[in-house]
Every structure is written in C-alpha cells, then in structure tokens.
Symmetry: C2
C-alpha cells in the first residue's frame, strides 16, 4: 500500500470554502445552486463528510470551476512525493 | 441549478480503467494497492458506483497519478461549456 493523505476531507473542505468565498456565495447560495442541503455543504467544508463523485461534480458545476480545483492538494505527484496535509 | 454531467461515474470509471491499464495493473493488483475489494474496483470501472473522496485519493495514490487525471472530462470549463460525456 502506498502512503496516503491522512485528511483528504479536510483538504477538500478548505478548497471548497475558499472557492465558494472567491465567488462571493454564501453556503445557502452554493447549496441552492448545487441542489444540496445547506447543512451538508457546511459539514463538507468542515471536512466532516466523505463526499462522493456526483456531488463533487455538482459543486464544481455550481462554482463553475474544474473538479481539479476542488481536489487541489490531494495529488500524489509524479515524483512520488505526497502533497497536501499529511499530519494528523 | 447549472447543467450537469449525466454520467460522471461512467467517465470516472473509463479514466480509472485507462490509467490502470497504462500502469499494467490488473484489477486485483490495483485493488490490493489501494486496499479496496477487486469487485468494488470492477464496479467503479463500469461506472456502477458513486465513489467517495477518500477512495478516489486511495486509487490515485495506488496509480501514482493526480486525482485530476482520474476526474478528467468531469470539468465545467471557465466558459461555462460542459465537457465530458453528456449523453445518457
């Protein structure tokens, strides 16, 4: 098994919050645009939910961003060096 | 609500299969490296599962690829034009 990011949900949540704020959206607005519940969006931003692919795509559509932007920092680079948060 | 990809799981599955084959891995090998079950990997490749973030990261680690490569074709471009498979 290869080394893993300890906290991908936290990294994803931080990306989501940053991109949402960049668009000037409230959590309510983003929830409405992505057809998700506001409390769910909040939980994802706090890294409390292991969000699935379809909802990742829905959020990217609502934010008009690439899914890659939401997953920034979750990459295993070609050199084998792990990026993103690796501490507990 | 913004337009959505109809079949993100199919697109993801096709990417996964392509990258796995590029590495010369069998489904069994990839399953072992990513600590997932072989039948689960097969179902994801067929687009039958809405895979969640942590498992996406585990697969990217096992394949030593960027998560963005697994999500290729699932992007909503900055011009608002939808990429990827949009048909049923």
């Amino acid at each position: 098994m290869y080394p893993r990011l300890v906290n991908p949900t936290k990294t994803f949540g931080a990306n989501l919050r940053r991109l949402r704020q960049l668009r000037g959206f409230s959590q309510e607005k983003l929830a409405e645009l992505s057809d998700l519940h506001r409390t769910y969006v909040g939980a994802v931003e706090r890294g409390e939910r292991n969000i699935a692919l379809v909802n990742i795509c829905n959020l990217a559509s609502a934010l008009k961003c690439d899914t890659a932007e939401l997953l920034q920092g979750l990459d295993f680079s070609r050199t084998g060096k792990l990026h993103g948060r690796t501490g507990r």
